[in-house]
Amino acid sequence: MSTLILRTASRMLTALLLLVSVYLLWRGHNEPGGGFVGGLTAAAAFILVAMAEGWRVARRALGVDARLLALIGLAIAAVAGLLAGPLGLPFLTGLWWKEAGLPLGTPLLFDIGVYLAVMGSVLTIAFAVEREV
């Protein structure tokens, strides 16, 4: 599958896909998108790298173990929920910080956690399937 055209195009496409995935994550609160679909898109970007340049390159490009990424995502989501604790609010209560003029808050942090967890999970399976066969 590793043709010259795909290899050349994949560099740009991967960058574009990653950008789109972050964009989807960011705009999710008001427009279609969100952490889940963003995570899937980001995973697709790395799978594209794998298709074009091989799984080893993809794995190196990711930099961390996909399993670790998934667990970090889960931990971030948990932390986003736990931040409400010290204020005496129930787990996962949304907290907002709007002084910066941007819609920042724990729901976004939670969504980032979802993004990383989904991305890490899909890539864990993808890399494992590739190694298996």
Partner: protein, 757 residues
């Protein structure tokens, strides 16, 4: 007589952990002593913290007369047992572990008896079960200890689960989990509705307190070190069931099955255990069976509502805890001294163990119910109580006399045989640590002191406890001399009977053994058979369900899904069928429809995997388009990404597995698969037709109204995911991660096993 002096046991009492455990026990004991006047006056100290407010569950504690009696026993005997254990242990590390486990057990037990909330009580109850498991299996190098620990855990754990169900039912019926409020909350309730919770709770009590037929774990628990046996399996843990029976007496005492069940089970336990006790050659096992007997007697008396019977039970709890701990600890000293506990070998120890001899005689006389020991008062009260039981005095009196006669015999074995007579020259004589000798002596002396001056315990301890059990004030007077009356006559009969049994003991033992040998069955064999059957049954079920064949798993899953969808559609009488008012198909929808149909056809008839995969991809895109046309953009985008990733992953695998043609199934198998597919298709179609038209807009309206003002987001789907129902999302993401890790392990594991073969 001392053959070789050898100091064994390195006291671990300088270890800070052990000292800390001792300190806790001592502080609790002193604190509890200080509470006596208040409790006796009816002012019960109590504490509570909110725990599960939504369910009305609290961490609630209350120290009434009954609780205080138990707290004093647990902490007081705890101090002595901990000191004894520190001296008993052969190495510091072991001694520390033993003492810390004992201390943890003590705390759990204290929580249990002080709890005023059913769920709080249950938590401590289970804690005692688990710690008991660790303590019985303390010598885990021995298979016997491990087996006994597991047996105790399984039996008491099963009872505990039944009890939890009973507690929940009881709490729901009474609308409170506060134990002290139960009698008032249940006043006027139909007693019939309490039968099920009562039976479940009794299952917990009977397993914990080793009533027939759940008794067999207790003698086996003697695999534990001596301090453990003395503490858990005589004085405290096994009394937890008795405690709960007493605690719930005001709640259930009037229930019609309370008296017959408790009396029958208690009497049966007492008699069975006394017969078993006579068969034992090991002193410790003999004492263990008399513990079962005592527990049976207590259950029997708690079945009654007569104040004297309750007073007898409460007094006997105190009496039994004192003398049984004395004797257990003393047997531990004898074991350390001579290296054996066989009553056939032991004799003439009076010279080499003079202090222990005093302790044993004090304990044994109290057990036998000789004046002026506390046991005498306890026994007289028992007879008085038995005579006062209105319904079945004959049965209870007979059982009590017989059980007490056995106790006289056992007491004579433990004291006379062991300490008098000619000492066999072959017995070793190691000098036990002084603390080990002192602990049983202290308890034995207390039994004598309380017997001589019963007013020390009568008014301050026994009377408030009886008041708690009865749920109304009671006046109890403990005295040594009641004049010449029926109980005294029964006592004389008891002693005569006991002496007769003692003289004929060897013949009785031989006779019982031959009966046992003829039967060939005992409780342990039944336990083994049941356990083996459970395990092999579980193995067979697992083999049946977890056959490891992926096509079969998938087929079963699909058939179940299809069947539930069809059953749901057919059985729902109120189903609204959308068939009649189906909306006309718009022109632009035809495109996605064509995609779906062509994709499905391709997937079915495709002769190559890639063709079939393309068909599936077309179905995915078609579905995505349908979502898109109906405004579910989020769902559409996500669906599209999922479809794309699936195609990529499967496509990556296809070139590396054998071609389709090589593994093509036979015709019947393919027909079967077609049948499954059609079945699921029918189910989904029916479900969609049923659900289609009247969509409830209420929920949508709620989110439309609250999404922006409360969660500052306009995309309702995402706001629901990350804010309103973020906990669901969190759970789902966790499942995704776990599934990925499982898939990783599965694939890697397969590779490894292939690499090996």
């Amino acid at each position: 007589m001392t053959v070789g002096v050898e100091q064994i046991g390195r006291p671990t009492l300088r270890d800070p952990w052990v000292l800390g455990a001792l300190g806790i026990a001592l502080a609790t004991f002193v604190f509890a002593l200080g509470q006596i006047p208040a409790v006796a006056a009816g002012a019960y100290p109590s504490l509570s913290w909110s725990w599960v407010a939504g369910l009305g569950v609290e961490f609630a504690f209350r120290l009434d007369g009954l609780a205080l009696l138990f707290v004093l026993l647990i902490a007081g005997i705890g101090v002595l047992v901990l000191a004894y254990a520190g001296a008993y242990a052969s190495a510091v590390a072991k001694g520390r572990r033993l003492c810390l486990l004992l201390a943890a057990f003590m705390v759990a037990m204290l929580g249990l008896v002080a709890a005023d909330d059913l769920i709080t009580l249950f938590v401590f109850w289970e804690a005692t079960t688990v710690i008991s498991y660790l303590l019985i299996g303390f010598d885990h190098e021995q298979a016997k200890a491990r087996r006994s620990a597991l047996q105790g855990l399984l039996i008491t754990g099963a009872g505990g689960l039944a009890m939890l169900a009973g507690f929940v039912l009881l709490g729901i019926t009474a609308e409170t989990f506060r134990i002290s409020e139960l009698p008032a909350a249940l006043a006027g309730t139909d007693m019939g509705s309490l039968t099920l919770p009562l039976c479940l709770i009794l299952a917990g009590c009977f397993t914990k307190s080793a009533q027939v037929p759940f008794h067999l774990w207790l003698p086996n628990a003697m695999a534990a070190p001596t301090p453990v046996s003395a503490y858990l399996h005589s004085a405290t843990m096994v009394k937890a069931g008795i405690y709960l029976l007493a605690r719930l007496h005001p709640t259930f005492g009037a229930h019609e099955i309370w008296f017959p069940v408790l009396t029958t089970v208690g009497a049966a336990t007492a008699l069975w255990a006394s017969i078993q006790a006579l068969r034992q050659s090991d002193l410790k096992l003999m004492l263990a069976h008399t513990t079962v007997m005592a527990l049976g007697t207590l259950t029997m008396f708690l079945g009654s509502s007569a104040p004297v019977a309750i007073a007898a039970a409460v007094t006997f709890i105190l009496v039994h805890a004192l003398y049984k701990a004395t004797l257990f600890l003393a047997v531990g000293v004898i074991d350390t001294h001579t290296g054996t506990r066989d009553r056939g070998v032991l004799a003439g120890l009076r010279a080499s163990l003079p202090v222990t001899a005093v302790a044993v005689f004090a304990g044994a006389f109290s057990m036998a119910g000789f004046p002026p020991f506390l046991g005498f008062i306890g026994k007289e009260l028992k007879y008085e109580g038995a005579l006062a039981i209105a319904q079945e005095p004959g049965l209870v009196v007979a059982a009590a006399v017989l059980a007490n006669a056995m106790m006289v015999a056992v007491a004579m074995v433990v004291s006379l045989r062991t300490f008098l007579g000619e000492r066999p020259g072959s017995l070793p004589a190691r000098v036990p640590p002084r603390l080990m000798v002192a602990a049983p002596l202290a308890l034995g002396v207390l039994g004598l002191l309380f017997g001589l001056l019963p007013s020390i315990v009568g008014n301050p301890l026994v009377q408030p406890a009886v008041t708690s059990v009865l749920g109304e004030p009671a006046t109890i007077k403990l005295a040594l001399w009641h004049g010449i009356n029926v109980p005294l006559m029964l006592s004389i009969v008891t002693v005569a009977l006991g002496v007769a049994i003692y003289w004929g003991l060897d013949r009785i033992t031989a006779g019982l053994d031959s009966i046992g040998a003829t039967l060939g069955w005992n409780g342990d064999r039944i336990y083994d058979v049941v356990l083996a059957a459970t395990l092999s049954g579980a193995g067979r079920v697992t083999a049946l369900l977890q056959h490891g064949r992926l096509p079969l798993y998938v087929a079963v899953t699909f058939v179940v899904v299809g069947a539930s969808l069809i059953a749901g559609a057919v059985m729902d009488d109120a189903a609204v069928w959308a068939l009649v008012e189906i909306e006309p198909i718009e022109p632009w929808e035809i495109g996605s429809l064509i995609l779906l149909v062509v994709g499905a056809g391709l997937a079915v008839v495709g002769r190559r995997r890639l063709t079939a995969l393309s068909g599936l991809a077309a179905i995915g895109v078609g579905t995505t388009l349908v979502f898109l046309m109906h405004g579910a953009v989020d769902v559409a985008v996500t669906q599209f990404m999922v479809e794309a990733l699936i195609v990529i992953l499967v496509a990556a695998v296809i070139p590396k597995i054998p071609p389709f043609e090589a593994v093509r199934s036979t015709r019947p198998v393919r027909l079967l698969r077609a049948g499954v597919a059609a079945f699921v298709g029918l189910g989904v179609t029916l479900a969609l037709l049923r659900l289609a038209p009247p969509v409830d807009r209420k929920i949508t309206a709620f989110y439309e109204a609250t999404s922006v003002p409360e969660a500052f987001g306009r995309n309702i789907v995402n706001v629901i995911l990350v804010d309103f129902r973020a906990l669901d999302t969190f759970g789902e993401v966790a499942v995704v991660v776990i599934a990925a890790l499982a898939a990783f392990a599965l694939l890697r594991g397969r590779r490894n096993s292939r690499g090996l073969s």
